[in-house]
């Protein structure tokens, strides 16, 4: 459960920070060049941050005990395959959730 005391600090800081990221260059309208190493590292941000959230959420947190222990990892594996084949967010979510529910029902 989310503690609502955290709500406004999170919304305001994350909201303002995200706006500033979006506005940055549009505000100054200059063509500033980053150092090359920084540009190369920026490219790996999505490929690193998201797996660092995904892996513990799938493998460690909220794992089932007993016969359905593998339900979440298997559902995530199906989602990876679906995402790879379709590149469609909605189909990936439906495939993963469907697999999770199916495994919990039959195992």
């Amino acid at each position: 459960m989310v503690d609502m005391a955290d709500y406004w600090p999170v919304v305001l800081c994350l909201g303002l920070g995200t706006f500033l990221l979006r506005f940055s260059f549009i505000l100054i309208v200059n063509r500033v060049t980053f150092p090359e190493a920084v540009v190369r590292m920026l490219r790996f941000i999505p490929a690193s941050v998201l797996p660092a959230i995904i892996a513990p959420a799938v493998l460690l947190h909220g794992a089932d005990a007993g016969p359905t222990a593998l339900a979440r990892p298997l559902a995530a594996a199906v989602a990876v395959l679906v995402a790879w084949k379709t590149r469609n967010i909605l189909v990936t979510i439906l495939g993963g959730m469907g697999t999770l529910w199916l495994l919990r029902a039959v195992l």
């Binding site: 506005f23 941000i45 797996p51």
Partner: protein
């Protein structure tokens, strides 16, 4: 109808196929917030003010885990760092319009609006497009659709039984976003390293495991790429 409105209309029209992916994503963001214990207004406020789905879902996940506020905000900002690149890439196309309008367009900047606009500007007849107007048409449509989805999700989210484990939609959404981003060996290595380190370091306080995973992943990808280029 004057010329500017025509370009606005073009932006709206070109964004329509994307809405079929955008509305359900908004719906999930709204429903996940309500499921995590937020009132409906707070769920819609989350999507309106932050307006960046992946970082919102990460924030909800971390707030549910009672991470410190600094970690929640920092993680969200790192996920949204890509907007810095979009902003740099779009800036020269939005030159010459008043500051207030530029700030409105910046607020509405999304992955989808960026992709549509850059594709349109790059076409053979791209030079004749009213660039801010086209961007506004596309970005506004995507924004509206996402928020309508979030409001719908917030109103149905409370009726979804806990046994459905709706929160699992969060990592699934990230899987859908990250898989297409893994295009070559260095990015695959970055993803594997980040996931492994994050699991090994999961017990660390303040969700430092997440930061450790992300940083080692970025470094692993960067070094692998350098190695591939320098032999």
């Amino acid at each position: 109808m004057n010329e500017k409105r025509l370009f606005f209309r073009d932006g709206v029209r070109d964004s329509i196929p994307i809405l079929f992916g955008m509305a359900p994503f908004g719906l999930i963001c709204g429903a996940v917030c309500v499921n995590a214990g937020m009132p409906g207004w707070a769920a819609v406020g989350f999507s309106t003010i932050i307006y960046a789905g992946a970082s919102q879902l990460a924030a909800v996940q971390l707030m549910t885990d009672h991470a410190s506020l600094a970690v929640v905000v920092l993680t969200g900002l790192v996920i949204n760092a890509r907007f810095l690149m979009y902003s740099a890439s779009l800036a020269r196309h939005l030159q010459g319009i008043p500051l207030a309008r530029r700030s409105l367009l910046a607020y509405m900047l999304s992955d989808q609006a960026y992709a549509l606009a850059i594709a349109r500007y790059g076409r053979a007849d791209g030079a004749s497009v009213d660039r801010p107007m086209y961007f506004f048409g596309a970005a506004f449509t995507v924004w509206l659709c996402y928020l309508v989805g979030a409001a719908l999700g917030a109103s149905v989210g409370a009726f979804i039984p806990p046994s459905w484990d709706l929160g699992f939609a969060i990592p699934l959404t990230f899987i859908a976003v990250v898989v297409p981003a893994i295009k070559d060996r260095p990015s695959a290595l970055a993803a594997l390293t980040a996931g492994t380190v994050a699991c090994l370091a999961d017990g660390l306080p303040y969700n430092l495991g997440l930061m450790a995973g992300a940083v080692t992943g970025i470094l692993a990808g960067y070094l692998a790429e350098r190695r591939a280029q320098h032999g």
